[in-house]
Symmetry: C2
């Protein structure tokens, strides 16, 4: 399996329209069926020193393998998401892991 | 859903026995059936400035809700993992996300 995890920090975290627009954009990624599972989330209310809860939205995609991940990266819906939504984030942090 | 993601950095990344011991410990977590899915991984060979590939092992757990996550945190197999394996890591980074 290949787990692609992304955390997003908004440019304007106090702007609820930006926040919703990025969330809406992330939701469009769920239609990309090359992923086995797609999770869009917000920070939980868990608090420990080792937990980073400063991000605004998270995205976790499960793929059967790296080839499927590579298809996702070039998928038109993903490219459109980046084109439409990159303006909303100041920072993204990505982790890719293979089993 | 509740996604619990953890990245581990080894105390001694050049020590292959430590590396394997932590991996073996992480594998024991797959027996905890309160999680809907459990992924243990290593950094993929993807390389972009936004990708952090410096960690040694990753753990992604999918739960139906925070209550299931809370059961996991106190599960004997998880507590035994922490007791046996905390010596191997110098740093853990946790992200908890709710859908």
């Amino acid at each position: 399996m290949f787990v692609h995890t992304v955390f997003f920090w908004l440019n304007h975290p106090d702007n609820s329209e930006d926040r919703q627009a990025l969330r809406d954009g992330l939701e469009t990624l769920k239609s990309i069926d090359v992923a086995s599972a797609t999770y869009v989330g917000a920070p939980a209310d868990t608090r420990r020193p080792v937990i980073d809860h400063t991000y605004d939205w998270s995205l976790t995609l499960i793929f059967t393998d790296k080839a499927a991940h590579d298809v996702y990266q070039e998928h038109p819906t993903h490219l459109k998401f980046v084109e439409n939504c990159a303006r909303y984030w100041q920072r993204v942090q990505v982790y890719d892991a293979v089993e």
